[in-house]
């Protein structure tokens, strides 16, 4: 199961009236669970079983995406690029402090490269999409540190 399939599964799960879902496909198994996180708000817990691309040790991984953690969403539909040019350094990397208005990525739409400026300030925790990946309007791109 690749990242975009997993994202789609999470999206469906978030909206469904089920609290737990287990999905198995050749070589990988994912269990999704809705529970309160340490911040006291409902979040989606993802456990990935063996066979998941980022898991080499064979032990389940947990990633939690609490809905109130500040995110930078895609302001348009297009292709996501993390750097101003193919070989250049990414605009931002996890650990960087992002200022409001700072360019964080490029989204290409109809052959036009649109610079995406951050609507918020904060420390970048993770990048949710891969370079060259198509994104839709509103799709979460970056997660910033809460608080």
């Amino acid at each position: 199961m690749d990242l975009s399939e997993l994202r789609e599964l999470i999206r469906i799960f978030e909206r469904a009236a089920v609290t737990e879902l287990e999905y198995e496909t050749e070589g990988s198994k994912v269990r999704l669970r809705k529970e309160l996180t340490s911040a006291g708000v409902p979040g989606v817990v993802v456990e990935r079983g063996p066979g998941a691309p980022s898991d080499e040790s064979g032990t389940p991984e947990e990633e939690v995406f609490p809905p109130d953690q500040p995110i930078i969403p895609a302001p348009m539909v297009g292709v996501f690029y993390q750097s101003p040019a193919p070989d250049a350094r990414p605009f931002v990397q996890p650990g960087d402090f992002i200022e409001e208005g700072q360019t964080v990525c490029i989204i290409e739409a109809m052959k036009l490269m649109n610079e995406v400026r951050s609507p918020l300030s904060g420390k970048l925790v993770s990048v949710l999409v891969e370079n060259g990946e198509p994104v839709e309007f509103g799709q979460p791109l970056f997660v910033l540190e809460s608080g």
């Binding site: 348009m76 539909v77 297009g78 292709v79 290409e108 739409a109 109809m110 036009l112 198509p134 839709e136 309007f137 509103g138 799709q139």
Partner: protein, 425 residues
């Protein structure tokens, strides 16, 4: 047809049925249409990332936008519809009239082309006689139209129409037509391929209208004799040939009380009421559109088209007919669509769905087919009676009352009917 589909939608339409039915879906923007459904870069961007071969523009939004069709072509995406030239022509109602007149098709009496001053408009009105319609050249489908009964109202209507046209269409071109009061709106569906083969699929009677918006449509029309149908059908084909039409299109006519018909408009998109034609001919018009856009030949002639039985379509709107049709968005708490023999329901709603307040208020089209008009009417009535729709005000009851009205039953309807009916309610 084995073709995969991608549904594009705004943030307000995540829950829409078409999004759930499609093989893939892409959110293209926020709720306001100008930032999503009308935003060409977003549509094209989505088309590119999904790597589609064609786009079906539906009706409304960008379906009659020649600029959009041109961009599709330059991006190597097939626009399911006619050529750019035809879209442009169909979009300029004054220009379309001029071409039809040139081709020998009778048009509604009025200005030769556009009128630039109120004096010119007055001249035309005096020639054809009041009342007249002041219409925006880039309008159509009921938008950008005003009626004038005398010189005074014509001058003010002309001024307002120009301002409205500028705001709505970015163009002040106006033309004048005689207002054929109490006429019948009869339109013919045509299908044409790129090799010039063309057929018509019979007529649709769309006379039950409110503020130029159709409510109930049927096929065939009670008022056309076999001879009239033949003559008008041939005129529709002539009209389509005059503009070298390809794909599916509709030629709209007005039929006056003497039985004389006049060209009104050419529509280059699929019409909302196309299901009634599909039910009586057995031809899937959207499927034909897709085939024709892929370059396929029509594959049949007029002789192969036959009209069987009768179909009546009732549009259901989320509007309160007893409060001046005020739109009524909200959550649908109960929905039981009708079914049974001869009933077809086209809808994007379901129980639990929230009707957004950003878009058109149409909820569903309920189409009834019967072997004759009485059976179709009986089934349509039954369908409206069986429909359970709670949570939003709607026009189901209104449709039922119109269907049961003796004038409708006898087919004695004209474009003034619904207005009269509402005022007597």
């Amino acid at each position: 047809m084995g073709i995969r589909s991608v549904a594009v939608h705004s943030e307000a339409d995540f829950e829409s049925l078409h999004v759930q039915y499609a093989d893939a879906d892409i959110c293209i923007g926020p709720a306001p249409s100008s930032e999503s459904y009308l935003h060409i870069p977003s549509i094209i961007s989505a088309a590119e990332i999904a790597d589609v071969e064609a786009i079906h523009p539906g009706y409304g939004f960008l379906s009659e936008n020649a600029h959009f069709a041109e961009i599709c072509r330059s991006c190597n995406i097939a626009f399911i519809g006619p050529s750019i030239e035809v879209i442009q022509l169909a979009g300029n109602k004054a220009e379309a009239r001029r071409m039809m007149r040139k081709a020998g098709i009778p048009v509604v009496p009025g200005s030769d082309n556009t009128v630039s001053t109120s004096e010119e408009a007055l001249d035309v009105a005096h020639q054809v006689g009041y009342p007249v319609m002041i219409k925006a050249a880039l309008g159509g489908g009921g938008r950008g139209m005003r009626i004038a009964h005398n010189d005074v109202s014509l001058v003010s209507a002309f001024m307002t129409a120009q301002t409205e046209a500028e705001a709505a269409f970015g163009d002040t071109s106006i033309y004048v037509e005689k207002c054929l009061e109490n006429a019948r709106h009869i339109e013919f569906q045509v299908l044409g391929d790129r090799s010039g083969n063309m057929v018509h699929l019979g007529e649709r009677e769309c006379t039950i209208q409110r503020r130029y918006q159709k409510l109930i449509e049927e096929s065939p029309s009670l008022v056309l004799s076999a001879r009239q149908r033949k003559v008008m059908g041939e005129a529709a084909i002539e009209a389509a040939r005059a503009v070298e039409y390809d794909s599916a299109g509709t030629i709209e006519f007005l039929l006056d009380r003497t039985g004389t018909f006049y060209f009104l408009e050419l529509n280059s998109r699929i019409q909302v009421e196309h299901p009634v034609t599909e039910m009586v001919t057995g031809i899937d018009i959207v499927k034909e559109q897709i085939r024709l856009a892929a370059g396929e030949r029509l594959g049949y002639t007029q002789r192969d088209v036959s009209i069987n039985g009768w179909a009546i379509e009732c549009r259901v709107f989320a509007e309160d007919p007893y409060n001046d049709f005020r739109p009524s968005p909200g959550r649908i708490t109960q929905f039981n669509p009708p079914g049974g023999p001869g009933i077809r329901v086209d809808t994007h709603i379901y129980e639990g769905y929230t009707v957004p307040d950003y878009y058109d208020s149409m909820l569903a089209k309920v189409v009834a087919w019967g072997r004759g008009r009485s059976e179709a009417m009986a089934r349509a009535e039954r369908a409206m009676e069986e429909t359970v729709l709670e949570g939003v005000s709607n026009t189901v009851q209104l449709n039922l009352r119109v269907l049961q009205h003796e004038k409708f039953q006898r087919g004695e309807i004209d474009t003034g009917f619904l207005k009269e009916f509402m005022s007597s309610e």
